[in-house]
């Protein structure tokens, strides 16, 4: 197994941290040379997962930390998201039937559907008291 340098940061379980997420990604994106479109997609995937975790992930009202670790190697971007919330595997969640009409359209499950479609690979594991979600995406440089 090769050792990868990872750039990491932590977010508190508060929606206001979405702007921190954006700022951190801008900085890391610059440092790792991640193309803008990919940065947007990573931001969106992490936004949806983070929003899910803080909305449904905690049984108490305490402050929690959610850790994000990003590395890029051989044109592959890997993002690991770790939280100490209740066990939840988003990969098992079925994608909603895509709507053809306005009447059929429901928004439940849409966030996870976006994540699965934006990323090349999404892998879940439960390690001790932590949910660990690993996202992978090829870096296509134009």
């Amino acid at each position: 197994m090769t050792f990868q340098t990872c750039m990491s940061f932590e977010l508190k379980n508060n929606l206001s941290e979405l702007s921190t997420l954006c700022e951190r990604l801008e900085r890391i994106g610059g440092a790792l040379g991640i193309p803008r479109r990919l940065l947007f997609e990573i931001n969106l995937a992490l936004d949806e997962l983070f929003t899910n975790i803080i909305s449904y992930g905690y049984a108490d009202q305490s402050e929690h930390s959610i850790r994000v670790c990003i590395s890029a190697e051989n044109d592959l971007l890997t993002v690991v998201l770790e939280d100490d919330g209740i066990p939840f595997n988003p990969v098992e969640r079925l994608s909603p039937e895509l709507p053809c009409t306005l009447e059929e359209c429901k928004v439940g499950g849409l966030g996870i559907h976006l994540v699965k479609n934006l990323m090349d690979e999404v892998v879940y594991s439960r390690c001790g008291n932590k949910n660990v979600l690993t996202l992978k995406k090829a870096i296509e440089k134009n």
């Binding site: 969106l44 895509l98 053809c100 359209c105």
Partner: protein, 110 residues
């Protein structure tokens, strides 16, 4: 996020700037529904300066579209950056929403 609103008769145009996410979507939802209470029947949303949208933003657009349809109103979305448009496509929203290239196209189609 900045929202610039122009109202002309029953038509309201919303120009969005910045990021439409879980933090800002409620403000936008309130602006649209306030306009509807104030007589707006048709809505144009200009995405030219919108850098970012998440499912929270899609949810507001969906809610507004359903509410306008109940009133026999119309909604048009325009001038999306390609990666914003991709989010609408992945969500399948492009099958029931009219997304046009420019603000002019949107206004003409009203």
């Amino acid at each position: 996020m900045e929202i610039i609103e122009e109202k002309r008769g029953p038509l309201s145009t919303f120009k969005l700037q910045g990021r439409l996410d879980s933090n800002t979507s409620q403000v936008f939802e309130k602006r649209i529904f306030d306009a509807m209470s104030d007589g707006t029947k048709n809505v144009v949303i200009d995405f030219k300066d919108l850098d970012y949208i998440s499912s929270a933003g899609l949810r507001v657009i969906l809610k507004a579209t359903k509410a306008l349809k109940r009133e026999d109103g119309k909604i048009r979305l325009c001038a999306m950056q390609d990666y914003v448009k991709e989010v609408f496509e992945i969500a399948g929203f492009d099958s029931f929403l009219t997304i046009v290239p420019t603000l002019d196209d949107a206004l003409k189609s009203m």
